[in-house]
């Protein structure tokens, strides 16, 4: 008995020693694994319908087509083409996302027939008046946050999730922290809770309807963002995902915006 107990203790202690990752290390590992799991998509296009809802229950719709090129070494490049509202049809936005440096952004205004640079340290601002900030929609590079693993719990439709707290490393972020639920199997981001500068819960993102594309890459069909403080919400509905369509750098420069 005594030996057994001793053995158990030794085993426990040694296993603790073996896997004695700090929560920070474990969190970072999960983020890296998630990053790796989605690598190699090279490019994709999709259509997005964005529905805004205010406290009074009134809704407003925007329709956007998205093209994204996977970044090598640096962040992704993406092009957003606005179809609705009618007044801004033909407007296009080009974003080169970077890790900790401010993103580069340009907007093509058809009414002026000119490309204007968006001076954008302000990643925290709302995207087209919605509850999504630029920083919620931009590519989630690993170095944008520091991480802290919290726990594992059930989530989504019978999945298991890592719950990871992440603190933005970017000075101008609108958040003090985010808590993300990432499923243990495929690293799909199921839910994110956002905390504002006074560390109050600001909003919650729920992603549902995940589908796998090109045999590897999981994308949600619906992303619902609820603002807990203002009662406003925004729903993104994604359709027509296409991967590896053969886009390249020439499709993502200032000239390509006007097309």
């Amino acid at each position: 008995m005594k030996i057994k107990l001793l053995l158990a203790t030794v085993l426990t202690v040694s296993s603790l020693g073996l896997y004695a990752e700090t929560p920070a290390e474990k969190g970072l590992k999960i983020a890296q694994a998630a990053d790796v799991s989605d690598q190699g998509f090279s490019d994709f296009t999709a259509n997005m319908v964005m529905t805004l809802k205010n406290r009074a229950g009134k809704t407003s719709r925007r329709i956007i087509r998205i093209k994204t090129l996977e970044g090598k070494g640096d962040g992704d490049k993406s092009l957003s083409l606005f179809d609705e509202p009618a007044d801004v049809k033909g407007t296009a936005m080009l974003t080169f996302s970077h890790g900790l440096k401010p993103d580069d952004q340009w907007l093509y205004l058809p009414a002026l027939k000119r490309v204007k640079r968006i001076n954008s340290r302000n990643k925290s601002g709302p995207f087209m008046g919605s509850e999504f900030a630029f920083e919620d929609l931009g590519s989630q590079e690993v170095e944008k946050y520091t991480y802290k693993y919290l726990k594992e719990e059930a989530c989504g439709s019978g999945w298991k999730c890592h719950v990871v707290e992440r603190t933005p490393a970017y000075k101008y972020s609108g958040y003090t922290k985010q808590v993300a639920w990432i499923d243990t199997k495929e690293y799909r981001p199921v839910k994110v809770m956002y905390y504002d500068r006074k560390n109050s819960l600001l909003k919650t993102l729920n992603a549902t309807g995940f589908k796998q594309y090109a045999g590897k890459h999981w994308r949600p069909a619906t992303m619902a963002m609820q603002n807990h403080q203002t009662g406003k919400s925004t729903i993104l509905q994604w359709t027509n995902y296409k991967f590896k369509t053969g886009l390249n750098n020439r499709d993502f420069n200032k000239k390509s915006l006007a097309r």
Partner: protein, 788 residues
């Protein structure tokens, strides 16, 4: 029958004593449901169309619950590194305020300009300590020329600057177990105020050169609570002390004074306990009820105890003396309590819920006082030891010579009093409506002092908001719509009452200039709808967290909010400009017409709305009370005559008010109905004694007047003095709705006594023939009742 009751009260005094205490405690346990609501919204009923318009506006745009922090450097220079650094620091810290969703200040103002043909949107300045003299001059130039800032965040003289924190209070909160429950708005406000005051003391400690002033809607709500706490801690003890002194001087009996104290405390506790059971919310007006109940409850006690003590002094045993006192006083005390309660209950027709609550709580207090006076008071009084004191009163002599004087001068008094009454009533229309909510608080309340400073130095506190609605999605960018909004804005800026107009057209003109290399000739509205929409999109994309455009534009870009800041003006002037704006919109932009909505507008209408709604309440009270009088006096002619001493005092009081104050509004709209039930007491006492003399004793009119004066003259004088004193205590409230109501009520009660003493007797003598035309019938009826 009454005698039987009186005897059994004495017999069962221990039972009644315990039963009273138990009942009081049961009622009092309802107090656990009481909570104080300091939200200014409670002054408006839910179906108030202006409240609805305002709520719609609040649901469409960012809410405007806010705290304004005004930073005033002692040397009056905002544009120097020290002050700007302080503003920058405070702006950062302001984001930590609970429930804050937006912070606007000079430092985080999103200034847009053209830089190398691109549009740059950034904080007006950063790292203020490193700014050069040139930078400071440039920032000052931008700030003072920006319509969004001047008169709003920076004064014209650049000597004070404000930081505006916008809050969003959740209506429901989740506790730790994830259970949703209703939030406590009063607690939320006090959380914010605690933090903001901490911030204020931080600023004044870190930057000793800067003085901080606090205002805004959240501070207004907080002031309702603080004014009430001030009143409770100052007025209530004062009223209690004053009443006990008066009662002691009158009764010259310590037991009697203790008995009175117990009855009035029981009455107040019972009323508020029942209020808790009924789910009534406490608010500043309701909190004037304790003083009112105290004051009114005293009258019941005084009537019963003074008869009792005088019987004892005439050698009766204290139990027998009580039986006699109850026999004599039961009916008058019952009738006066009933009429007083009716007067308060008529407040239920008021348009402002807090005054309905006040009416109900006071009515419950008055009825509780009646119950305790006839069951508990006899029990406790006869159990306490009474020291006998033989004392001759001289007042009786004074009263009879006063009666002689009134009878001798009856003609002169009739003419003189009538002319004074008519003269004062004619003055009533001089009163002007005024419900300016900042002035609801006097200088003792910090909110009033700080808000006065802000309106004198920076910007107005009163505003009107218009939500301009267009037909289709995105129409806000339509050139015609924008041109019309600009026309409206320009016209508003020419109005003498207007300090500032916050309008989206200023943003569009600035963006148009930015998009054309900051060329001043492009400081005008964009030419096409697409341009306007796309500039706005670009600008929106560049704004940081919390500084979005939803405070001005709805999510569908279909509606826009225009906020008009006004000087400190009277309610009448607010109503004037509201009407003028309506007319201008009808004539110039009928399709875009919107109704003005804001707390300022809601309060501007509240006085008149309540005066109108109280007309029906006053009428109902008048009819009921007159019927009671007809019944009590057993003559419709006397009942009709009693209208004069019942109604004239309120009329005269409003005339006097026109001379001494001249401002009426929400609080005073309820005074007529409320005082009706109180002043009628004097009439009941005087007329019933007069009629007893006239009918039972067969005295002539003049002798009956003498009799009435000698029997109730002193009692009326004393109770009126006590009532006036009690309401004068209320008049010292720091909360204008309570102090105005207290003062005017005191005036009404004082005049009622004067009218009962100086006008009623000459009238009774003059109209004697008409009054007694059908008296034969009543006399026989009365005789029959009497013999039973």
């Amino acid at each position: 029958m009454i005698k039987k009751y009186a005897e059994s009260v004495i017999k069962l005094r221990w039972v009644l004593l315990i039963a009273s205490v138990v009942l009081m405690l049961i009622a009092a346990s309802g107090a656990k449901n009481l909570f104080f609501n300091n939200d200014y919204h409670i002054f408006f009923s839910e179906d108030d169309p202006r409240l609805k318009a305002f709520e719609d506006l609040q649901n469409t745009y960012t809410k405007n619950d806010n705290v304004i922090l005004v930073l005033a450097p002692k040397d009056g220079v905002v544009f120097k590194t020290d002050t700007l650094a302080a503003i920058e620091d405070v702006t950062e810290r302001a984001w930590q305020t609970p429930y804050s969703i937006r912070v606007d200040s000079l430092s985080n103002y999103q200034h847009s300009e053209s830089v190398e043909d691109d549009m740059s949107v950034a904080n007006l300045y950063e790292e203020a300590s490193e700014l050069s003299a040139d930078d400071l001059a440039r920032i000052k130039d931008i700030a003072l020329n920006e319509p969004l800032l001047r008169h709003r965040l920076i004064s014209e003289k650049a000597h004070v600057s404000s930081i505006n924190i916008t809050m969003e209070f959740p209506k429901e909160i989740q506790d730790e177990n994830g259970v949703t429950k209703a939030a406590d708005p009063t607690k939320q406000v006090s959380e914010v105020v605690t933090e903001v005051r901490k911030l204020k003391s931080y600023i004044e400690k870190t930057y000793p050169e800067i003085t901080v002033y606090l205002s805004g809607i959240v501070m207004l709500n907080n002031a309702f609570g603080e004014a009430t706490i001030y009143d409770m801690s100052h007025l209530l003890p004062m009223a209690l002390l004053l009443i006990l002194i008066t009662v002691y001087l009158l009764l010259r009996s310590i037991s009697g004074t203790i008995t009175t104290l117990l009855v009035i405390v029981f009455s107040v506790v019972t009323a508020f306990g029942l209020a808790g059971w009924l789910g009534i919310q406490l608010s500043s007006p309701v909190m004037s009820a304790p003083v009112i109940i105290l004051t009114l409850a005293v009258a019941d006690c005084v009537h019963i105890l003074s008869t009792w003590l005088s019987e004892i002094r005439h050698g009766k045993d204290k139990k027998l003396a009580m039986v006699e006192s109850l026999r004599v006083n039961f009916m008058p005390v019952f009738l006066t309590s009933l009429t007083t309660a009716i007067g308060f209950l008529s407040l239920n027709t008021s348009d402002a819920p807090p005054f309905r609550d006040l009416g109900n709580v006071a009515a419950m207090g008055v009825l509780a006082a009646f119950i305790f006076s006839i069951f508990f008071l006899p029990a406790i009084a006869t159990l306490l030891p009474v020291k006998e004191q033989k004392k001759e009163t001289h007042t009786l002599k004074v009263m009879s010579s006063f009666a002689e004087w009134v009878i001798a001068k009856q003609k002169a008094l009739l003419i003189g009093m009538s002319s004074i009454a008519v003269l004062l009533i004619v003055l009533i229309p001089i009163n002007e409506l005024n419900d300016v909510f900042v002035e609801y608080f006097d200088d003792r309340i910090e909110f009033r002092r700080d808000t006065d400073f802000i309106s004198q130095n920076l910007t107005g506190i009163y505003n009107i908001e218009y939500s301009i609605n267009t037909e289709n999605t995105g129409d806000i960018a339509d050139p015609d719509v924008l041109a019309n909004i600009k026309k409206f804005t320009d016209w508003l800026n020419t109005q003498p009452e207007v300090i500032h107009v916050n309008t989206v057209t200023d943003t569009f003109t600035r963006l148009n200039k930015n998009m054309h290399g900051d060329d001043k000739s492009f400081y005008r509205l964009p030419e096409s709808r697409e341009m306007a929409a796309q500039y706005l999109l670009l600008y929106e994309m560049s704004l940081p967290f919390g500084l979005d455009l939803n405070n001005q534009i709805d999510i569908d870009k279909k509606s826009t909010r225009i906020t008009v800041t006004l000087k400190t003006i009277s309610t009448q002037q607010v109503l004037d400009i509201e009407t003028r704006v309506d007319q201008w919109m009808d004539e110039n932009i009928p399709k875009l017409k919107a109704i003005g909505a804001s707390p300022t507008i809601m309060f501007a209408h509240i006085g008149m709305k309540n005066i109108i709604s109280m007309i029906s309440g006053t009428t109902i009270a008048l009819v009921l009370i007159s019927l009671i009088l007809v019944f009590a006096l057993k003559s419709w002619r006397y009942g009709l005559l009693s209208l004069i001493p019942n109604l004239v005092p309120a009329g005269m009081a409003f005339g006097i008010w026109a001379i001494i104050n001249g401002e009426i509004g929400l609080a005073l709209s309820v005074v007529t109905a409320m005082t009706l039930g109180i002043v009628v007491d004097d009439t009941i006492h005087f007329l019933s004694k007069y009629l007893r003399a006239r009918r039972e004793k067969g005295l002539g009119a003049e002798d009956a007047v003498r009799y009435a004066f000698s029997t109730v003259g002193v009692a009326l004088w004393v109770t009126s003095v006590a009532l006036v004193a009690g309401f004068l205590v209320l008049a010292t409230s720091s909360f204008k709705l309570n102090s105005g109501m207290g003062l005017l009520t005191a005036i009404v009660i004082a005049i009622a006594l004067i009218v009962d003493f100086l006008l009623l007797p000459p009238l009774l003598i003059k109209l004697d023939a008409w009054l007694n035309k059908d008296s034969k019938v009543t006399e026989t009826v009365l005789a029959e009742i009497k013999t039973k």
